[in-house]
């Protein structure tokens, strides 16, 4: 962990005409974090990223990357930042390698072929290196976008929905590579609608709703905030004792889902089942996941 935050955002507001897209966002991401920025469509995630990347200008407030102000110190900011845009964009005039060399040049790097080859190898792009961008599939274009964001080895990498519409194989190899970069000290910020990805990868999560941060905590703490567990049961005979009716969440195809406020409630439930002479066929206790937290947070605020 360095002293300078990788990303520091203070009282950030953005108006698009009458739309108040960001309504005073405060956020601090430390160096080395794997950070998730979650929220429904239109919550302001992409606007926030665009401001950090200098594609959009904030109406008020400040934003800095590695201590460099995104407006005043734009050159230093952009050198420190690698952004994988959400839109699947490409330049139809060039091959993969030409594109990556040109992108390196924009960042002031002249002989960058060793690193370009390494990035391409990690993203399984080597055999496509001399193919024109036009001829690549959507998944391959997505890989090239990731490679382009990494040509200058940025300390901070932002991925805006990198796995939208991407097959399982690429997702896995992409995350393995991003994890490796994170272990190598790169700060990763990611937006995604696949909450299980965020839960598996990210150590901290911010949730945005209508331009405000409505939850900001470590993934572990957010998961702990939901104490309720679900107990899934298959029983014979398929009739629950009346005393458990209040706990029933759902009953579909013989699977009873009961809510437990605490682990300790388990004992009472089992005792009631025993008293009623019910035999348990199958039992599973499920943990709350980030999706449950997300639904709760979005519903509450």
């Amino acid at each position: 962990m360095g002293a300078t935050p990788a990303i520091l955002v203070r009282h950030l507001h953005k108006h698009f005409g009458s739309l108040h897209a960001l309504q005073g966002v405060d956020l601090e991401v430390q160096q080395g974090e794997f950070f998730a920025l979650l929220g429904p469509n239109g919550a302001g995630k992409t606007t926030l990223i665009s401001i950090l990347a200098g594609l959009t200008r904030a109406s008020s407030g400040s934003a800095a990357v590695m201590g460099h102000d995104v407006v005043r110190d734009y050159r230093a900011t952009r050198k420190a930042l690698g952004v994988v845009p959400q839109e699947l964009v490409y330049d139809p005039f060039f091959t993969v390698r030409e594109g990556l060399r040109i992108q390196s040049g924009y960042f002031g790097l002249r002989r960058n072929d060793d690193w370009i080859d390494e990035v391409m190898a990690n993203l399984d792009l080597l055999d496509k290196a001399d193919r024109n961008m036009r001829t690549l599939s959507g998944g391959m274009k997505r890989r090239v976008l990731v490679a382009q964001a990494l040509v200058h080895k940025p300390p901070v990498i932002i991925l805006d929905e990198p796995t939208a519409g991407v097959d399982v194989e690429l997702r896995q190899s992409l995350w393995a590579f991003i994890r490796k970069l994170n272990e190598g000290g790169h700060t990763i910020v990611l937006t995604t609608h696949y909450l299980e990805e965020a839960q598996a990868l990210c150590n901290r999560v911010a949730m945005l709703k209508q331009g405000r941060v409505v939850a900001l905590d470590s993934t572990a703490n957010l998961l702990k905030s939901i104490a309720e567990r679900h107990l899934c049961l298959r029983i014979t005979p398929d009739t629950l004792p009346a005393g458990l009716a209040a706990r029933v969440v759902s009953h579909i195809d013989g699977l009873h889902v009961l809510a437990l406020d605490h682990y300790a409630d388990m004992e009472g439930v089992l005792a009631q089942l025993r008293e009623a002479g019910v035999c348990i066929q199958d039992m599973e206790l499920t943990q709350p996941d980030l999706e449950d937290v997300f639904v709760q947070v979005m519903g509450a605020s």
Binding site: G54, R78, G99, Y106
Partner: protein, 251 residues
């Protein structure tokens, strides 16, 4: 500086990869103009004493092709990048607005000059021209393509759709270049239209360029240089202000 060189290289590579459309096509268009107009007018029109009409026409055609292609280069490159979205590849890196401007400008000048050379070489088949003042010719070639390249950057930044760019081209660039004395001397026009022509900066580019060949022109080359130079500087300043403010590129 590497950023600037790279962007310039990318822009040159872009038009070179499609040189069939960007170089050969305009050369053929100019050739058609030459064939048709010299066939119809050669026997009827003599603008300057001792200069045949075909010879008079060549510098105008060369300059017109240079100007139109300089404009087309920056404007079409920018609008394509904006519409396909790959403009972000240039907006995310630490390129300064000055680097951005110079790279697009120089690539436009290069395309204009390459097309101009192509047109000139092809016309050698029909008429041999002696160049009396090569320096004047070079100055006007660079300033003219520079100004239209700059105008192309402005149009490319401003336009959000291809038809807006087409409107810019059809309602501004085409009239300015066609009504500039490419095919005639403005002294052959009625007084009113002569006066109107003098408000067209392209007229001064063509006239100054032609002076480089023949040593005669409708107005003094110094005046043409002044007008073209002032227009170029003013448009460049405007473009730099637009780029610096992020107009239509950074919201």
């Amino acid at each position: 500086m590497i950023g600037f060189y790279t962007l310039l290289y990318k822009e040159l590579l872009r038009f070179w990869k499609v040189s069939f459309q960007t170089v050969l096509a305009p050369v053929i268009t100019a050739l058609l103009y030459l064939l048709i107009f010299s066939h119809v007018l050669e026997a009827h029109v003599q603008v300057y004493l001792g200069v045949r009409y075909t010879a008079f026409l060549v510098p105008g055609l060369v300059m017109m092709s240079m100007l139109q292609n300089a404009f087309a280069n920056s404007s079409s490159s920018l609008i394509q990048s904006k519409i396909t979205g790959n403009i972000v590849f240039m907006l995310l890196p630490p390129l300064s607005y000055l680097e951005f401007f110079s790279a697009y400008l120089l690539a436009s000048v290069a395309r204009g000059v390459v097309v101009g050379l192509g047109v000139f070489v092809v016309t050698l088949v029909f008429t041999r021209l002696t160049i009396l003042h090569p320096l004047w010719l070079i100055v006007f070639a660079f300033l003219g393509t520079g100004m239209l390249g700059t105008l192309g950057i402005i149009a490319g930044i401003w336009a959000e759709k291809f038809d807006q760019l087409a409107a810019f081209q059809n309602f501004l660039i085409m009239p300015l270049t066609f009504l500039s004395g490419v095919f005639y001397s403005i002294h052959s026009l009625p007084a009113f239209w002569q006066a109107v022509s003098r408000f067209n900066p392209v007229f001064y580019m063509i006239d100054g360029f032609r002076y480089g060949f023949f040593g005669v022109a409708d107005v003094a080359p110094q005046l043409s240089l002044l007008v073209v130079g002032v227009c170029f500087v003013a448009l460049s300043a405007l473009t730099l202000i637009l780029l610096k403010s992020g107009y239509k590129l950074r919201h």
